[in-house]
């Protein structure tokens, strides 16, 4: 029982599938209604796929668990129609402070500069996020959720997947063309298929204590090395909605989790941190250890692994749920093209390649943070302490202090879906980068660049005066959107309107700045808002070739490179 929250109970309903004599077939099944599974299912439904979600439980997360959601995850959730209630409920923050022996030694601003629709980070209890996602799922006609449906056997066949599902009314069998396994770090589906997630355990234990208090601390992430109230270890303070605060204490490997969890042992630690006079109540506590690991690849035939089932990181940096949501963003547009027969199955292997690359980066960053917070050897501790001591006065040492590198996006620069880059274009929007947002103005009321991408592919062409574009160019831009693969040409301009094409005005000049654009510059953007090619000047054949490359439909294969009907 929590002081500030009561878990909803979702109703188990017997499905007609359970009485069928033959296994009922579904195009797509998602197993696991956590943040990642639900994001996958909503994305699928919004792309027009009929999707069934199975979850072994009948409620949302028990306990606050993952509480930090990054700008990129919010951008994806915004596309899925879920970000607004999260931001209204959540605590927006962007500043992290690091203390060493009670002295402020460094601070970092995760979103310097204006001109982004969404904040750098919000803190929100996982159960609030999940409730928002459940409401969104329930509003989609082509999405069905079955609570209390636990998968107990999987047959990953060449032409379909068969699942045996246990329910309060006994087991039943169903089949599907594609299975998304979002069933968590201990993924039963992974086990059923005899697959492994390999990596390392860390020898340290941490205590999470969520407390309810009316305190005057600002909405910032405060990380302390060796504080006076918890000598020799580290601690973290972070604000959540409902006057709940996340406190995290490093305990060391020898701590006994059962003993540490007892309120009589938790309360003195909290009191020491917050001060004797602070009134608080204990909401939830948990002792955890962690590991960093991943599967060798995330696609196994017709089964696609996402989130913690595919890869696991240490909690420092909030790279778990945030990267899982990015997995689904990468996967669903590809799956839709494959399910429609518009791209070959090979495109799904690039889901694995690209997200394995992102997972490696997340694992590397969270491992490095863990190594800094919990040095593994005396010499490692000596260096760590020397960095902290020097960080009081020297900027270079401040840059080395690692209390968690907070979730950011991977630059998929080595992806085979990218086409050649025009290296003259300045800035970080290289092929493989996630689009930077920018304020824009359009006739349909568009106000942010990212709101104009995310459905199909988009070609953005920058121009000083959209009214002055020549007819041949306009005709070619219009022609691009008549292909098999959905693509919209959008003109971004300082002024004017391009006849027959959506035109956006670069309201504050931030598009030109962030994309290094000058008249003629164009960017080809994937449905997951990643840049896949860019040029200083438009050429129809180059764009067609890049589109074919980004969808694995290059001529010579089964599919047509010209992308024309």
């Amino acid at each position: 029982m929590f002081l500030t929250y009561q878990n909803p109970v979702y109703t188990y309903l017997k499905s007609p599938d359970q009485a069928a004599t033959e296994a009922v077939h579904h195009p797509l099944v998602v197993v696991g209604a956590g943040p990642v599974g639900m994001a996958a299912a909503i994305d699928a439904a919004m792309r027009g796929i009929e999707v069934l979600v199975l979850d072994e439980d009948n409620t949302v997360s028990v306990g606050s668990r993952a509480v930090c959601y990054s700008k990129r995850a919010l951008e994806i959730l915004d596309r899925l129609g879920c970000a607004r209630p999260m931001i209204e409920k959540g605590v927006t923050w962007k500043l992290g402070k690091i203390f060493f022996r009670d002295e402020l030694v460094n601070q970092f601003d995760l979103q310097p500069g204006e001109g982004h629709k969404l904040p750098a980070f919000i803190n929100l209890q996982q159960y609030h996020l999940e409730e928002t996602l459940v409401r969104r799922m329930n509003a989609l006609d082509n999405l069905e959720v079955r609570w209390k449906n636990r998968v107990v056997a999987v047959e990953n066949g060449a032409d379909k997947v068969r699942l045996t599902v246990e329910t309060p009314d006994g087991p039943y069998v169903l089949s599907c063309d594609w299975l998304i396994a979002a069933d968590g770090a201990n993924s039963p589906i992974r086990e059923h298929l005899g697959l492994e997630s390999k990596g390392q355990w860390f020898h340290d234990r941490f205590l999470i204590a969520d407390v309810v208090m009316k305190a005057g601390f600002p909405p910032e992430r405060w990380f302390s090395f060796d504080p006076s109230y918890h000598r020799g270890y580290s601690s973290l303070l972070h604000r959540q909605p409902d006057d709940v605060w996340r406190l995290d204490f490093q305990l060391g490997w020898d701590a006994d989790p059962e003993v540490e969890k007892r309120p009589e042992n938790v309360l003195p630690r909290v009191r020491a941190m917050l001060g004797e006079d602070t009134e608080f109540e204990l909401e939830w506590c948990s002792v955890y250890t962690f590991r960093c690991r991943r599967m060798e690849r995330f696609r196994h035939g017709r089964t696609l692994f996402v989130g913690d089932a595919a890869h696991q990181v240490s909690p420092f940096g909030a790279r778990g749920a945030n990267s899982g949501i990015q997995d689904t963003d990468n996967l669903l547009w590809k799956l839709k093209l494959v399910m429609d027969g518009a791209a070959p199955e090979r495109l799904l292997d690039t889901y694995s390649d690209e997200r394995v690359c992102a997972a490696d980066e997340n694992i590397m960053n969270s491992t490095r943070s863990t190594d800094f917070i919990t040095p593994k050897s005396p010499v490692s501790r000596t260096f760590r302490d020397a960095v902290l001591e020097l960080s009081r006065s020297l900027p270079f040492a401040r840059a080395l202090v690692n209390s968690g590198r907070l979730s950011d996006t991977a630059f998929l620069v080595d992806s085979e879906l990218n086409s050649g880059d025009d290296e003259e274009i300045p800035g970080d929007m290289v092929p493989g980068a996630v689009m930077a947002d920018a304020p824009v103005a359009g006739s349909a009321g568009e106000s942010w660049l990212l709101e104009t991408a995310g459905s199909g592919f988009v070609l953005y062409l920058y121009s000083a005066d959209a009214s002055g574009l020549d007819d041949t160019l306009l005709q070619q831009l219009r022609l691009l959107s008549r292909g098999r693969i959905s693509l919209e040409s959008i003109v971004v301009a300082e002024r004017g309107t391009a006849p027959g094409l959506r035109t956006l005005h670069d309201a504050q000049g931030l598009f030109a700045e962030r994309y290094g654009a000058r008249p003629g510059t164009c960017y080809l953007i994937r449905p997951d808002q990643h840049v896949c090619a860019r040029w200083r000047r438009f050429e129809l054949s180059a764009v067609s070739a890049a589109l074919a490359r980004a969808t694995c439909t290059v001529r010579g294969g089964t599919f047509d490179a010209e992308n024309r009907e």
């Binding site: 800094f372 900027p395 840059a399 080395l400 970080d428």
Partner: protein, 80 residues
């Protein structure tokens, strides 16, 4: 003049995150000491300082660094 601003970089490599070159250095440093005893680590550190000192060469810079490194450390024998 000793550089104390963040100066980690790698020629030919493009970094997209400000923390990356420093973190790459730190990870390489810790990796250099993997599986060594404390005495062996001290030996590696001594060699490393000698190599880097010769690379820097400028005695003004080296003396400044040595002074900062020692600053605030009370000789153990005098501690009481």
């Amino acid at each position: 003049m000793l550089k104390t601003e963040n100066n980690f970089h790698q020629p030919g490599k493009r970094f997209f995150r400000a923390y990356r070159p420093g973190d790459d250095f730190y990870a390489a440093l810790i990796e250099t000491h993997r599986d060594l005893s404390e005495a062996q680590s001290a030996q590696v550190n001594a060699r490393l300082i000698l190599l880097l000192s010769n690379h820097i060469g400028d005695l003004n810079v080296l003396r400044e660094a040595m002074a900062i490194a020692r600053d605030g450390i009370i000789p153990a024998g005098d501690a009481d």
